[in-house]
Symmetry: C2
Subunit: 256 residues, 2 copies
């Protein structure tokens, strides 16, 4: 197939929630109650699917229904890190008898639970920061180190037309990652925005104002806020956040 | 409330599958294909709900949709053990802001992933083997040690009328547990039956013939086979297993 015949990559956000999702179990705040009433307002574990040239790559695996969504398999996983809300969907998928599936991931000696001890059909392939993974058909994924409580990567995808970065979980960017994102002149950056801007001491994750500052500094064409917690959701619903026009708040199912 | 006014406990099997569930990801065997075609043949992670006197106790938490099934919370969890397919539903539930929830469980220094480090609303309460947990309203749960690759309990529930034992994951019974089950003269025993009887070397789990032998030896009124793997399912579908009339093969949703 000639390069010119391949449609641009497409990134679909499968989940856009912080670790507990929205609604949080037993929470009666306005954001959680409205998500119970309106399924479109639910936020599942932050994760995404990148499709390109008839292939599917999953970024993280926090959803519990991946067998039903992808019964015929996927081409590979790219993990941001090994916290449970980002890998819990692998616990049952791994026992599938199909062909081995590459799992590009940060080097993390712990992994999550017994995933490394019993990988099943998964082939974990730890990468060094800034490694460029060749996904074939002119598509690459660059591992961008992030600032989180476990070794964590953002993934910068590039095809012949676009550059899309997917960056959860992080608080700020390490300088070299910020520089790489500026240099890439990204078409879109999907970024962690777990907390409301009035959070007194965000750790491990951005709040909205910090995420907006990072996106503006990156000079991306489009910013997308994800990994949204329920307090952040309330602040957005109550119009307490100041978000520029070129930055949108994601919802589950958003296509980029 | 007088004892005589409380209805007997009711046990609902929420999931009856082995670790990978049925269908297994990417598997094209007859059992997995038919489960994709007929949702009633799906087997989710082995787990159950015990209801009694208006209260709900969950045995294991392998399902990913417990927030939607139990938005108002549950009274407690009773865990068999800390393998991922039995506890993965706790990873997001724990972040709920509601009242603390007791989690009766075996003593296991590892737990699963970071559940002990970040328990959130969960109050893990490790128990010694044969501890009798008082669940109130005349309901008790006895921790029966099982034979598995991690510290594992079966749970023997007793109210004024019935004694129901729930025993996954195990290969055989330790002698003291077999004796306790005989002494209890159980109304029903739900038992691990992961493998087909022609499995050459079952480890950590029963095959059907072993499960049947254990149930017959226990002299229970009713046996229920659960934690079914896809090879076991095929053997059952193809009528290759010899199962006495008082023993049934569970399905998701079965009420005992």
């Amino acid at each position: 197939m000639r390069d010119g015949m391949i449609a641009p990559m497409q990134l679909t956000l499968l989940g856009t929630g912080a670790a507990g999702g929205i609604p949080l179990w037993g929470c009666t705040c306005a954001a959680c109650c409205s998500a119970r009433d309106e399924p479109a307002r639910r936020r599942r574990p932050a994760s995404a699917a990148l499709t390109h040239a008839g292939r599917t790559f999953l970024i993280d695996a926090g959803l519990g229904d991946l067998e039903q969504r992808y019964p015929d398999g996927v081409n590979a996983f790219l993990l941001t890190h090994f916290h449970a809300d980002h890998v819990q969907g692998l616990f049952h998928l791994r026992w599938g008898p199909g062909v081995p599936v590459p799992v590009w991931c940060p080097a993390d000696s712990e992994g999550c639970a017994d995933l490394f001890k019993h990988p099943g059909c998964l082939r974990f392939q730890p990468q060094a920061p800034f490694t460029v993974v060749d996904l074939g058909e002119g598509l690459t994924a660059t591992a961008l180190p992030l600032a989180h409580s476990k070794p964590t990567f953002g993934w910068l995808f590039a095809d012949n037309e676009r550059r899309i970065a997917y960056c959860t979980d992080t608080r700020g960017f390490p300088p070299a990652t910020a520089q790489a994102l500026r240099d890439a002149a990204c078409t879109a950056i999907v970024l962690d925005s777990t907390y409301a801007s009035d959070h007194p001491a965000p750790t491990g994750h951005n709040h909205v104002a910090l995420a907006v500052d990072l996106l503006v500094a990156s000079a991306t064409t489009r910013g997308v806020l994800t990994h949204i917690g329920h307090e952040c959701q309330r602040a957005i619903d109550e119009r307490r956040e100041n978000i520029p026009d070129h930055i949108v708040v994601a919802n589950d199912g958003l296509v980029i």
